[in-house]
Structure formats: structure tokens, C-alpha cells
């Protein structure tokens, strides 16, 4: 926002005398535009900020639902516990691993599929619809299908197909819990990445690629030098928006592994669930929630900056 004055009319910036009246006209007009939005804004404010403020408030209390009289001010105790508790370190690490792998893999696959769907192939419309399907299936239902229909060691499809390789009785969900969760989440998020990247690819001018070919560039060269730089902001946007959601992964972990075995797949949201609804430690859970919000805001800031930079590029073209 450094160069906002660039967008303001010169008169507003320079002439001090006329400025006040012009500004009041502008602000009155602005309020006329905002007023109809006010009820929605107040509603959003109430339903989002009151729970948040309450969460911050509770995070300073040692409140356990099961302990009568435990609602006592505890200062920063809950936050201090966050620093020393090993379960929380594990959860943070798991969240990072899960997010990195899911985003990296789904971006690569999403890019490949988007390239494929951007070329002239038979049945493109049908394929695109099919590719989007995983994103539209409810997360809990999808995870259940993965767990019971595909991966179950007794009657699952995958162990059956892998029988010739001698892998018929591998208990995927329990022996490779993180890999399973990553696989299911990649399956879910690839369509999202594909859609965003496809939008970028379709804004590409085919004449430039044509010109590159005339100049003697092969497919790999034109992909690396022309296509990739063009879709790079879209990949960044997809990765950042995606990581915002993947950081909050809860449903598939609940259905697939319940955070286990051990704490192998317990991420921050799932730990929050366990602390709040198994331990009933509302104060501790609130502190985790507050920290999670701060982390999310940091990621979101980057995501939004990328979003705006894309719009600016679009607008200038």
C-alpha cells in the first residue's frame, strides 16, 4: 500500500484548501455506499468476533468443564504450557509436515493435470468434471470410503489389487498413517490446484507459444521459460490458499486415524479437539485456538498479498 497516493487524483493530494470539502463529499458518498452493507457487516462482526474475543478471554483461565470451581484466572499459564508440552510440539510438527507434503504434491499433480486439460484432447469437458469430483465429495464421506472400501486390510480394494505383489495384508492406515492422510488430502486438494492453475493457463496467449516454436524452442523450453513464469502467481495463490485450509485439516484425520496411532497424525486442530472434548480443558484449548489463529493470520496475509498482486497484474495488462 506504499503507492496509494498514485491512485488518488492529483487535486486531492496537492491543493490543501479544496481538500476538506472534497474529502467530506467523498466520505458522504462512501457512507451512502457502505450503509446497505452495514447490517451484514454487523452480523459478521458479531458472529466472528464475539467467539474470538471469548476464546482469548478463556485462554487466560484454568477452566476445566469437569472440575467445579476451576474457572480461575491463570494468567499466561496456558500459553506457558504450550511451550513446554511435548504433545503440542508433535502437533505443530505434524501440521507442518502434512501441509508441506499435501501442498507440494497436489501442486505438482494439479499442474500436470491442468496442462493436460489445457491441450486439445478428446472428452476434455467430461475429464474436467471428473477431475473436480474429489473436491466436491464431503470430506468425512471421502475419508470413510478411503478407509473402509479402499484401504481396509481384510476387504479393501487396494490390498486386493496388490495381492500379486505380496502386499495383500498391509494395514495402510495404521502402518503408514501420515502417508495415508497425505494421500487422501492430496486426492482432495489436487482438483483445487488444478482449477486455479488451469485458469492461469487459459489466460496464456497461444501466439507467444507459437512464436517460441517458430524460434526453435522445444516443448520443455517453452514450458520452463514461458508457461511456468506466467502461471507462477497462480501456483503461489493456490499453494497459499490451499495451505490455509490444509492447516485446518480435521475431518479426514478424525475419520481415518483419529490422530493416531500414538500421536503420529495429531495436528493442531485435532489436538485442539482432543484437549477441548476429551480433556474438557476449555482454557488450554482456547490458548491453542488463539495460537492457531495467529499462525493462520500470518499465512493468510501472504495469501492475500499474492492475491492482490495477481489482480494488479491483471488490471495493468
Amino acid at each position: 500500500m506504499k503507492n496509494t497516493s498514485e491512485f488518488l487524483p492529483r487535486s486531492v493530494v496537492r491543493s490543501g484548501g479544496a481538500r476538506r470539502s472534497a474529502a467530506s463529499v467523498v466520505s458522504r458518498e462512501a457512507w451512502a455506499l457502505r450503509l446497505p452493507l452495514l447490517p451484514a457487516f454487523v452480523y459478521v462482526f458479531l458472529v466472528t468476533q464475539i467467539p474470538f474475543v471469548l476464546t482469548v478471554y478463556y485462554s487466560f483461565f484454568s477452566w476445566n468443564l469437569l472440575k467445579e470451581g476451576s474457572f480461575q484466572f491463570a494468567g499466561l499459564d496456558n500459553y506457558a504450557t504450550l511451550l513446554t508440552n511435548e504433545s503440542i510440539r508433535t502437533a505443530v510438527l505434524n501440521t507442518v509436515i502434512l501441509t508441506l507434503f499435501v501442498i507440494a504434491i497436489s501442486v505438482v499433480i494439479g499442474l500436470a493435470v491442468a496442462m493436460l486439460l489445457n491441450s486439445e484432447i478428446f472428452g476434455k469437458g467430461l475429464m474436467r468434471t471428473l477431475m473436480i469430483a474429489p473436491f466436491l465429495i464431503m470430506p468425512t464421506a471421502g475419508a470413510l470410503i478411503w478407509k473402509d472400501t479402499l484401504l481396509n486390510p481384510l476387504f479393501g480394494l487396494l490390498p486386493y489389487l496388490l495381492t500379486p505383489l505380496g502386499l495383500s495384508r498391509v494395514d495402510w492406515v495404521n502402518q503408514f498413517p501420515m502417508a495415508t492422510v497425505v494421500a487422501v488430502e492430496v486426492w482432495r486438494w489436487t482438483p483445487f490446484m488444478m482449477l486455479i492453475i488451469l485458469a492461469g493457463l487459459q489466460s496464456q496467449n497461444p501466439e507467444i507459444l507459437e512464436a517460441a516454436r517458430v524460434d526453435g524452442a522445444n516443448a520443455l523450453q517453452s514450458f520452463r521459460r514461458i508457461t511456468l513464469p506466467l502461471v507462477r502467481p497462480f501456483i503461489e495463490l493456490g499453494a497459499l490458499l490451499g495451505s490455509l485450509f490444509v492447516v485446518q485439516t480435521y475431518d479426514s484425520i478424525f475419520m481415518l486415524t483419529y490422530g493416531g496411532p500414538g500421536e503420529d497424525t495429531t495436528n493442531i486442530p485435532f489436538l485442539l479437539y482432543l484437549v477441548a472434548f476429551q480433556g474438557y480443558s476449555i482454557g488450554q484449548a482456547s490458548a491453542i485456538g488463539v495460537v492457531a489463529v495467529i499462525i493462520t493470520i500470518i499465512v493468510a496475509t501472504f495469501a492475500l498479498r499474492t492475491l492482490f498482486s495477481i489482480f494488479q497484474v491483471e488490471a495493468r495488462r
Binding site: D171, G279, A315
Partner: protein, 457 residues
């Protein structure tokens, strides 16, 4: 760049910030929503009173749901709305409801774990005054162990709907085919030897719960630990999970599962084992006595029943009674009691027998049930094992050494829900081979030490 002039004067300033704030607000809302408990709704109206009952999802409760019209036809001004939930969800919902005193439910199914803890806190209603008003209820007919477990300071705080202990169920034909015989009071060594003898590529030796959760895996595992002489805490609340007894018991359990247990053991709970046993995929199953009421086909015809296997301590069976409790926050206590009275009465047991078949009768609550000729016939194999096991289950002396807590397959403290789940997760990881038993128990010990400290002062 000329587009700067084309924009509205205040565009650059006015859009980006509110959008940022708005979107951030949305993200906060998403995270915030995860922390705030859901709101509930109540109902009722007109001349009739509607009560809401939270029930655990099992065959006996499904039968109750089927028979609700019978109750409503004799109590025309009462409507009963039964909400069935899986065990883990039920606990979470009901605990929230009762702790927050929201009064969403008028009755709920709880076990003796909740009954005593909540009675102490005044969260559930003392039912003895209600029972006293109904001369036909006969509380002395309730099985003594169950009645004691559901009482607090001599008053009943929940009425049992069905009760269970644990026993070994086995396929007589499968064991006979390998020349294995099973005594009535087997030791765990005999059971392990039998399991390994009958284990083959098509049939596994034994099904034991490995699914994490204090109500799942720790049910059978705790009884194994008890009979091996292990305990959760010593008399001074020092955690004992790193003791040799725990090591031996958990090693035994994990090894038995690895060598002769069902595949995917870390995901197998009561339901999974019941399915495996019913479909003939396992030859033996050590679990709740109520399992036998759900056998079909060959499993129903060829099953033998033995008392819970032992190592050092005799009578290692657990004790559990799913019961109806009434939250103090209920505003329709008399109506709720009318239903609880009906559902746990002698007449209800006869009603189930005549309407749904005698094998469906909820077992383990009333002594009189076992005197009914029709039930004796339907439950010939396991009725005696159930009654004897329940009679010998002593919730105050679970293991060899004295303990400061109450409970056989649980520890009667608030923290046990979380502690039990954490410990069972670590053991599940050992079952799938992600860590050794010693590593699992070392972590489990750390969780237990933290809990024990709260009781040491």
C-alpha cells in the same frame, strides 16, 4: 501506466483494507467455530410432554427404540425422542450437556464411571426418591454388584438398562478340529496356546480390541493388566505403567495380536470383532458378555463360553452397566422418570421377550431375569457365565495389590477419559509396530504421572 487515473478516487485506499479485515474475520470465524460448542434445541408443546433421551448405539438400545410406541400407547401424554449416538460421541455430547447444565437431554445412558463422578458433583439426580414412589419397581431385584456400582452414598443415581462382564467366546468346532480343548476357567497361557494352534491363513486365532479409546481397547487390555498384577497407580498415586507387570501384560497382549490376532487389530473394536467372529474369521473372542446375544448362524450354534482368562488374579472379568441417568438440569423430571421406570422394569424385560424374542432381553440387570424359564433356554450357554462373572467383579479390588481408585477396566477419576485415550493410542502404535512396548509404556507413564500429581497433594 495510465490506469491510475481511471480508478475511482478512493478505490486504492477503501477496498483493500476492509477486504483484508473481512477475510481475516472469516478465517477467525472458522477457527473460532471449532472452539465453541454447538447450540441445541428443545421441543414439546400442546398437551403432551416430549422428553429427549440420549442413547448409546447398540442392539439393546435399538430394541428400546422399537418398543417406544408401546410406552407411548400406555402414556398418551408423553412423547419420547431417542437420539442414538456412537459410544465416543455420546460421551462427548452428554458430558458437555451435563457440565454446561444446558438441559438438552432429560435422560441419557451412562455407565457407572459417569454415575459416581457426576453424582458427587450433583450433576445427576438422585433416583431413590423416584424409585420409592413406585412399589412395583423392586430395586432389591437389581443385581447387587450393579446396584452398588451405580449408587453414591447409598442412593441410586442411575438405573441399569443392561449389564455386562467379560468372557471368552470360542468356536467349539474350530477348536475341536485342532484337538484343542478349552477349560471353563482358562489361563491366558492356555488361551494363547489355543489361539496359536488354530491360527491359519483363513482363520485367525483370537480377536482382541486394539482400537484406541478407553472404552474400546482398554476394556479387555485393562483386565489383562489386572490379572497380571499391574495397576495404574499405587496407594500414593504414583503411576505404575513402567512396572514389570504392565510390561509383561502389554507385551503378552501385543504379541498375541501379532502372532494369532485379527489383521488390522489397531482398528478393531467391539463391532469389528463381533463381525469377524460372526463371519467365522476368528476362532476365539475375548470381550463383553453381551457379545453372545448378537451371534448369528454358525457362531450362535457352535459357540462355547469360558470365564475371563486369568494369570495371577482370579476372576478378571470387568463390570459395566449401561444405565439411565437423569441430569439435574432436566425440567421434566417426573415425565423422564416415568420412561426410565418403564424401560428398566421387570415388565420391560418380559415385553422384549414376547415382542422381539428372548435372546434380545437386555441381560445383567435383574436377578429375576435369570429365573425366567424362556430366558434360561435362549441364553443357555452364557447366562450362567454372565451372572457369575458379574457377581465376582469387584470394582474396589481390581488387581492383586491395593489401589487408591475404583474401577476394573477404568480408573474412576475425571482425567481418565483423556488419560485412557492417550495411553491406548500409544499401545495401538505398538500393536502396528510403530514403536516397542517399552517406548509406548514410557510415554504412557509420563501421561499417568501428570495425572497422578493432581491427586498427591
Amino acid at each position: 501506466m495510465t490506469d491510475g487515473k481511471l480508478r475511482l478516487p478512493d478505490r486504492g485506499v477503501a477496498t483493500s483494507r476492509p477486504v483484508v479485515v473481512g477475510i481475516l474475520g472469516l478465517f477467525i470465524a472458522v477457527v473460532g467455530a471449532a472452539c465453541s460448542p454447538g447450540a441445541g434445541g428443545g421441543g414439546g408443546g400442546g398437551g403432551t410432554t416430549t422428553i429427549t433421551v440420549a442413547a448409546v448405539d447398540n442392539p439393546q438400545m435399538a430394541d428400546l427404540k422399537k418398543l417406544v410406541p408401546e410406552f407411548q400407547s400406555s402414556h398418551s401424554n408423553i412423547r419420547v425422542n431417542i437420539v442414538t449416538l456412537p459410544e465416543d460421541q455420546l460421551r462427548v455430547q452428554v458430558t458437555q450437556d451435563v457440565a454446561a447444565k444446558s438441559g438438552r437431554y432429560d435422560l441419557f445412558t451412562i455407565g457407572q464411571y459417569e454415575a459416581e463422578l457426576w453424582a458427587k458433583k450433583g450433576w445427576i439426580e438422585n433416583l431413590s426418591p423416584f424409585i420409592a414412589k413406585d412399589s412395583s419397581y423392586d430395586p432389591n431385584d437389581l443385581i447387587p454388584g450393579v446396584r452398588t456400582a451405580l449408587s453414591y452414598q447409598g442412593n441410586l443415581y442411575a438405573v441399569p438398562f443392561y449389564g455386562e462382564s467379560s468372557m471368552l467366546m470360542y468356536r467349539k468346532d474350530m477348536l475341536a478340529a485342532k484337538n484343542v480343548s478349552m477349560p471353563d476357567h482358562p489361563t491366558w497361557d492356555q488361551v494363547a496356546a489355543a489361539a496359536r494352534a488354530v491360527n491359519s491363513s483363513s482363520v485367525n486365532g483370537i480377536c482382541l480390541r486394539g482400537l484406541p479409546g478407553w472404552g474400546e481397547q482398554l476394556g479387555p487390555l485393562d483386565t489383562v493388566v489386572n490379572t497380571f498384577g499391574g495397576r495404574w497407580f499405587d496407594q500414593n498415586w504414583n503411576a505404575q505403567l513402567n512396572s514389570p507387570q504392565w510390561h509383561d501384560a502389554v507385551t503378552f497382549y501385543v504379541n498375541l495380536l501379532k502372532t494369532a490376532g485379527e489383521p488390522g487389530a489397531a482398528n478393531a473394536g467391539f463391532t469389528e470383532c463381533l463381525n469377524a467372529y460372526n463371519s467365522g474369521k476368528v476362532a476365539m473372542w475375548y470381550d463383553a458378555t453381551v457379545g453372545a446375544s448378537n451371534f448369528t448362524g454358525d457362531a450362535a450354534k457352535n459357540s462355547g463360553y469360558a470365564y475371563a482368562p486369568t494369570k495371577i488374579k482370579d476372576w478378571s472379568g470387568w463390570l459395566w452397566a449401561w444405565s439411565l441417568g437423569m441430569p439435574s438440569s432436566s425440567k421434566k423430571k417426573d415425565t423422564a422418570w416415568a420412561f426410565a421406570d418403564w424401560a428398566t422394569s421387570k415388565d420391560y424385560i418380559k415385553l422384549v421377550g414376547t415382542k422381539l424374542g428372548w435372546a434380545h432381553v437386555p441381560p445383567g440387570t435383574r436377578t429375576s431375569t435369570y429365573a425366567l424359564a424362556e430366558y434360561q433356554q435362549a441364553a443357555a450357554g452364557f447366562a450362567q457365565v454372565t451372572v457369575d462373572s458379574m457377581a465376582h467383579a469387584d470394582v474396589t479390588h481390581a488387581t492383586v495389590d491395593p489401589v487408591p481408585y475404583v474401577g476394573i477396566q477404568y480408573v474412576l477419576i475425571d482425567e481418565f477419559q483423556q488419560l485412557g485415550d492417550q495411553v491406548s493410542q500409544e499401545i495401538a502404535k505398538a500393536i502396528v509396530g510403530g514403536q516397542t512396548v517399552d517406548q509406548a509404556l514410557q510415554k504412557a507413564q509420563a501421561f499417568a504421572v501428570a495425572v497422578g500429581k493432581k491427586y498427591q497433594s
